[in-house]
Amino acid sequence: MITPEQIKEFLGKSLPIAVCETQDLTGGGDHWQLIVVSPAFEGKGLLEQHRLVNEALKEPMSDQRIHALALKTFSPSQWEKLGS
């Protein structure tokens, strides 16, 4: 299991993060839903955006601290359009 603070720390190490919302889906600390907004996503397709997050979380994903990850990614301009 992993804490939201640790997730944010891992992400912050390899990506500039504008927004990171975490939701523990089961209460067990290893099934997470993340909403991540990063300027690094600008102009990139979904697959590339998700790859950047997977790469940043490679360590906790491979040692199973994160067992399942549901991911939503947005560039700042996409996020703004959502009116959030």
Partner: protein
């Protein structure tokens, strides 16, 4: 040999317009993410091939290396890796999946 597995995967991905690597089968999915992905593909009424990674540990490991993607399910359309459950869901919601499928199946 490890490369044999990647070749086997490559052949399937190239020989099936829509190829889904999943846990379980479309009728008996063994994971919620796989089940959801099957549901989305079925909603288009198009033919798609699947392979159960739980039936073969070498495929389960190999598919992650093939696409450099850490999770299963994985969807391939027209020989190209499209994404896992989240991405396919998002493309479906945005209406972007249908044109990809149409152009692949129209060929």
């Amino acid at each position: 040999m490890a490369d044999d597995v990647l070749n086997k995967i490559d052949e399937k991905v190239k020989n099936n317009k829509v190829m889904l690597y999943m846990k379980g089968t479309p009728d008996f999915p063994q994971c919620g993410f796989s089940a959801h992905t099957v549901e989305i593909l079925k909603s288009y009424g198009i033919p798609f091939a699947t392979e159960d990674v739980l039936a073969d540990p070498s495929i389960r490991d190999g598919i992650k290396r093939y696409s450099n993607w850490p999770t299963i399910p994985q969807v391939y359309i027209d020989g190209k890796f499209v994404g896992g459950c989240d991405i396919v869901h998002e493309l479906h919601e945005r209406g972007e999946l249908e044109p990809i499928l149409k152009s692949a199946l129209g060929k």
